[in-house]
């Protein structure tokens, strides 16, 4: 088997069996990045020397018989995770030269388990976007294209670089974050798997903050099992994050093999949105059929406040972002545009350093939190958020998991949906409710549309029951047998 075709699990087995060294494996991925990143722009920063140093340490550990869960496994790290001594930009001009003096907890956990970091993956600026168009370092290109059409497509966002890198086989897996769908939607657009775990499962310490009550880290990888391996390493209690959950990390890999026999799977009728392409509806029904064949019971359920999820999100997330991004003031984080006085220095630094979408969201957040408007917008949104959570709490008394489409469309072309911010926001209609309620959600590649583009199905579960989510996701993956590959990939025809 060529190294291009390895899953993370297979690469780990190969390393342990000494079929190849970590150095060889890392060299393979660095060469693939070298060849394809100029076209994909999936990485903002590539760290070959550091990766080879990690790989040599991994080979030494393997030689001593001290391999950990990820020893020698090359990964891409979303450029929102602070990495000690390695530039971390959040895809923003305002952090263009920021070199963190510390390591985020999630990346420290991966390093503890032996992972090799290839570099920092591109994203929408401060993770704000659904197309990776807002990056100050240029858009990421989706490795998939429509049949008979070479127009560059977006990889989804905000974790577009992570998803494109994995889909094009430039890494075995990647870290990502999800505030409103930023793991699941790009996973769906790029034909790979990705899970946003329960809020609190992964520490947020050292992850550049966007909306603190919604942000959650998780992995993207080629298979559901690979995601389970990565999440097992990324997750865990961290006293440095006050919202980190103090509970043991279950064996997610074992959960993938549980099967779905006897499970009750809910189908929320409100996710049947108007204007959704018929092929997504068909794929959804097919997915439910697969689960039924494997012994699950399908139950129609209702989540009545679904339609208000996005509007609630676009109050809560900008409000939190306007507070979190106040720290970029031209004093502490490398970028400064001078002014006649301190206020002008702030205003000029932020005008020059932030892109248009980030400015829009900061301004919306500032407005909804401003005196006289707080109750009408922010407080009301928090109440609707409580109703969205109640919808899920009620439904999870009746069913073990929910299955829905991940996104209302396949990947679209660069330039499409760009004229109106709200059109772009509608991408996240099926993913946002999981962030509002804190529940886990996984996207699994399930089929292709008529133009040959991947489509994902989403599995939602009870808080801290990622195990059932992995069980259902694996069952869908097995039945779908998704084997299609993007045209632009390492090992593909150029």
């Amino acid at each position: 088997m060529s190294m291009h075709d390895l899953t993370l699990a297979a690469a780990r087995d190969g390393l342990r069996a000494r079929k190849f060294s970590a150095r060889e494996l890392t060299g393979h991925f660095l060469a693939a990045i070298n060849a394809l990143n100029p076209r994909l722009n999936a990485f903002i920063t590539v760290t070959p020397e550091l990766a080879l140093r990690h790989a040599e340490a991994a080979d030494a550990a393997l030689a001593r018989g001290e391999g950990q869960a990820l020893t020698g496994i090359p990964l891409a790290i979303k450029d929102l995770f602070c990495t000690e001594g390695v530039r971390t930009t959040a895809a923003s001009r305002i952090l263009e030269h920021f070199v963190p003096p510390y390591e985020s907890t999630v990346t420290a956990n991966l390093l503890r388990d032996g992972a090799v970091f290839l570099g920092k993956a591109n994203l929408d600026e401060f993770a704000m976007g659904s197309s990776n168009i807002t990056s100050a370092f240029g858009p990421v290109v989706n490795p998939w294209t429509r049949q008979g059409d070479n127009a560059p497509l977006v990889p989804g966002g905000s974790s577009g670089g992570s998803a494109a890198a994995v889909a094009a086989r430039l890494a075995l897996g990647a870290t990502a974050t999800d505030t409103g769908g930023s793991i699941r939607q790009p996973a769906s657009f790029c034909g790979i798997a990705g899970i946003k775990p329960t809020y609190g499962r992964c520490s947020r310490w050292g992850v550049v903050a966007f909306a603190s009550s919604l942000d959650q880290a998780g992995p993207v990888a080629r298979t559901v099992e690979d995601c389970a391996i990565l999440l097992g390493s990324m997750a865990g209690f961290d006293p440095k994050d006050s919202t980190s959950a103090d509970r043991p990390v279950p064996d997610f890999v074992a959960a993938c093999k549980r099967g779905v026999k006897g499970l009750r799977i809910g189908v929320p009728r409100e996710y049947r949105s108007e204007g959704m392409p018929a092929e997504i509806e068909t794929l959804w029904q097919q997915g439910l059929g697969w689960l039924r064949e494997q012994g699950a019971e399908i139950v129609e359920v209702s989540l009545p406040h679904t339609k208000y999820g996005l509007a609630t999100y676009y109050i809560v997330a900008p409000a939190e972002a306007s507070s979190n991004l106040a720290r970029y003031d031209g004093v502490r984080f490398t970028s400064r545009s001078d002014g006649a006085d301190l206020t002008e220095l702030y205003e000029n630094t932020r005008a020059d350093g932030f892109g248009a979408e980030v400015k829009r969201r900061i301004m919306i957040g500032t407005y909804v939190l401003s005196a006289g408007y707080y109750d009408a917008y922010y407080l009301r949104a928090q109440k609707v958020r409580a109703l969205i959570l109640k919808d899920f709490t009620d439904v999870f008394r009746k069913v073990d998991a929910l299955v829905t489409p991940t996104a209302p469309s396949a990947a679209f072309a660069q330039g499409e949906k760009m004229d109106d911010p709200i059109k772009m926001y509608l991408n996240d209609v099926f993913t946002v409710p999981a962030n509002m309620s804190g529940i886990p959600g996984l996207s699994v590649p399930a089929g292709l549309d008529a133009q040959g583009l991947p489509l994902g199905l989403q599995v939602l579960g009870r808080p801290f029951d990622e195990e059932t989510v992995f069980a259902v996701g694996s069952a869908l993956e097995k039945a779908a047998g998704f084997a299609a590959l993007p045209a632009l990939r390492a090992g593909g025809t150029p």
Binding site: H97, F98, V99, P101, Y199, G200, S213, L214, P239, S242, T243, A245, D246, H305, Y308, A311, Y314, I315, S322, A326, G330, V331, R332, F333, T334, S335, R336, A340, D341, L342, T343, E344, L345, E347, N348, R350, A351, F354, K359, R360, M363, I364, T366, Y367, S370, Y377, R380, Q382, K383, V384, R385, A386, L387, L389, D420, P421, I422, N435, G438, P463
Partner: protein, 95 residues
Amino acid sequence: MSLDPATVRRIAKLARIRVDEAQVGQLQTELSGILSWIEQLNEVDVEGVEPLTGGAQMAMRMRDDVVTDGGIAEKILANAPDRAGEFYAVPKVVE
């Protein structure tokens, strides 16, 4: 909801983002559009509903009130655009 130009300028001031006069019109349109769209929440009956403030369904933890870090001024100042000794430096704010 339609914002007037003065409100757009006031929000920009509060957000400490310089907005040039030429940008006000476009921002007015975009922000008004987003605010009108989120006003659909007015149709939800939230009478008696307690607001949900966070993503974690648990109580905040207390920790011991002790120093756990410090003495790393050089590391922190390494990212400062301007410094004076062990301090961040900014333009003069007091005459």
